[in-house]
Assembly symmetry: C2
Homo-oligomer: 417 residues x 2
């Protein structure tokens, strides 16, 4: 039997699940490339940025996850260019050619033409960004405590979160809880509870992917935590010491950017027209048009649900199911069988606002509050890779639940975590 | 009653224990300055550098440790100059003057006039250094796996640890165990078990502070793990791709510097003659000569045990006891009582070599092997600050014990942890 070589770019939810589905299959050889050495459980990244969890709690070494997959070769390499016709990827560790190419290079945050805002309003997509944001938030309180000037002190205690999607809602809720509970009695000159958290959303409601009822609930829950939610407000300027929202100028030193994503620039080398977010339009078989051996998966793909004809959201479940589907297609080709049609099974969506406050939508079922929060906890614990991560996250969450503490309150410059 | 103002520099073992001993004492006001926001449990730093623990596991936010000490003001500030006569510290957050000054600014690693070696042979004193070293060690295996050139591959798999003190012994043992067990089956092109770990010590034996019997035991244990121990060998050159030991040139990309410490440069501003390691000679009352309100503590001090007349070692117990003693002196002065004499109570010393291998010396009792290792575990768990750190370390150690895994295998550039 001829060997089928599969090259996978990216060990995110799509790439890792494709590799797992191809593990130890006879006649298949997989090369999995990622520029990091670990798979990141991105849904909990905001918990690293807000000092609740450590980077290692939400990461798993790709090699160790795939240890028993003897036909999978993991390499730490940075993909730089792709030639879809020859299915060749150029990386800093040489070129790799496969019979199949699976591209799951993901997305980064975007500033819609305002790249100059980035240093003042960092985004949250990677571990270094999360630990840098953690340092930024914690340092703001330290600076406020050091300050003698009242105006400057106020500016350090103003936090602005831009973007009302799940990340923005979760970050705003977590910063508010940190200031209200975790840090409340730790300072002598300032009262951290007086920190002001602003959540700015340009659209008419928070969490636009959810039902209006859930949006309203999230807004109410955030208000209870003291978050100042501004809807229909566009940020017109971000500078080192202030954010401008319409006519209002808010003095702040800590801005979190959760307003937009843009697909990896790797998409550009595919030579196909991209959508406005830089994503690659894919066929109903999640391949690029005219080349059914090049799959584009996860956040990098602009895919449409064949059933509802609605665009698929940029969530873990889409990436996981697409990764598994691509693997199934390769195995079908190997057998000479017809490929199955990709159907996205919507398992629902959830977002957490704070302690015992979350929203869940599973089909027609809409949950909020305490039940939704415990369900959120359960789903995220189960989603983590491996016993160690699960046990560690449970331990730290359990400790936080009873003490209101956050265990990873580390400021370590730009260098460590 | 007049208020006594105490300024403490450094929230290490000395400073933190002094602050705790002065907590909520009437008539005392403490300002504790540190450039970090956390107290670091340095004895376990090598476990972060070798991917066994996360930075947050061995750190505790100084503010949260001293939350209930209402008379202690914690400030994140970098001390730059000290005037011992006026007991004034200049920092990047302004100047602070106390009736008493407690200086516990610690030490950093030193290259004995070979500062050019630092980029190739980093030391291990801070969290950013530990996460950078972890990335360096893990990346070496990744690079070896990527390599097609056999000679280069070998160079990536050579690890050189310089210095046979506790840190050097622990690092060499941990790197050997990682390659023999943790990573053994994770690679496809290389066999990590063939990694070569060299431990180079200029003196005639390892762990010179221990008895000869313990030194011999440590050397035997390291040999069992496959560590190549070189005694009486001085490193004469460290470059980007090789280390020269006497006449031998060893190709390597990963050098760990554990050969020397030097006291913080802050000591220089005290205007007293320093010892060759840059430390401040102190009186039997751990103050500088001629000024009994300026205490110098921990690794910054060159102190002599009044009983044995031997120099006190740079270990946590010395710093803890000195910090408490300084606090007791201030309280005695406040009462108008005579200060007690400082006596170092030697609780023994221990070092770990690897799994179920350690050495302990408590008075005349010399232990090795399994019993010493379990004792080492117990003492270090107890030494950690707070329930969360203890529980987290126990969880990760327990998991590692049963799986031979290391949970924090993260390469996150120079930026995160």
């Amino acid at each position: 039997m001829a060997v089928t070589r599969v090259v996978i770019i990216g060990a995110g939810f799509a790439g890792l699940n494709a590799a797992k589905a191809l593990a130890n299959r006879p006649g298949i050889e997989v090369t999995l490339l990622d520029r990091a050495n670990h798979h990141l459980f991105q849904p909990l990244l905001y918990q690293v940025a807000t000092a609740a969890l450590s980077p290692a709690d939400i990461s798993a070494p790709v090699r160790s996850v795939l240890r028993r997959a003897r036909n999978v070769q993991v390499l730490m390499a940075d993909a730089q260019r792709i030639d879809p016709a020859s299915r060749c990827v150029e990386t800093d560790a040489g070129a790799f050619t496969g019979d199949y190419l699976l591209i799951g290079a993901g997305a980064t945050h975007a500033y819609f033409g305002h790249d100059a805002w980035e240093p003042f309003a960092p985004g949250l997509k990677t571990l270094p960004q999360a630990t840098a944001m953690r340092a930024r938030i914690l340092r703001a309180f330290e600076q406020a405590e050091r300050c003698s000037d009242r105006t400057e002190q106020r500016a350090w205690l103003n936090f602005v979160v831009v973007g009302g999607g799940p990340t923005g809602v979760e970050m705003a809720g977590a910063i508010a809880e940190m200031s209200r509970y975790t840090l409340a009695r730790d300072f002598r000159r300032i009262d951290p509870r007086k920190a002001r958290v602003l959540l700015v959303e340009a659209g008419p409601r928070l969490l636009p992917a959810f039902t209006e009822r859930s949006s309203a609930r999230a807004q109410r829950d955030l208000a209870t935590l003291g978050v100042d939610v501004r809807l229909g407000c566009a940020v017109t300027e971000v500078a080192a010491s202030a954010v401008t929202i319409g006519a209002e100028r808010i003095a702040t030193r800590t801005v979190v950017w959760a307003a937009g994503v843009r697909a990896s620039p790797l998409a550009q080398s595919l030579g196909v027209p991209l959508d406005p977010a830089g994503r690659v339009p894919v066929t109903s078989g999640i391949t690029i048009a005219g080349n059914d051996r090049v799959f584009v998966l996860g956040d990098l793909a602009a895919a449409t649900d064949p059933g509802s004809q609605r665009p698929l959201p940029g969530v873990a479940q889409v990436a996981i199911q697409q990764g598994r589907h691509a693997a199934a297609c390769i195995l079908a080709d190997q057998r000479g069988a017809a490929r199955a049609t990709f159907r996205y099974r919507d398992k629902g969506q959830m977002a957490t606002i704070g302690r015992q406050r979350a929203i869940c939508e599973i089909g027609a079922l809409v949950l909020g509050g305490r039940i939704a929060w415990w369900l959120w906890l359960l789903v995220h614990i189960m989603g983590l890779t491996g016993f160690r991560s699960r046990a560690s996250v449970m331990l730290h969450w359990g400790w936080s639940f009873f003490t209101y503490g956050r265990g990873a309150r580390l400021i370590v410059g730009r260098e460590a975590g």
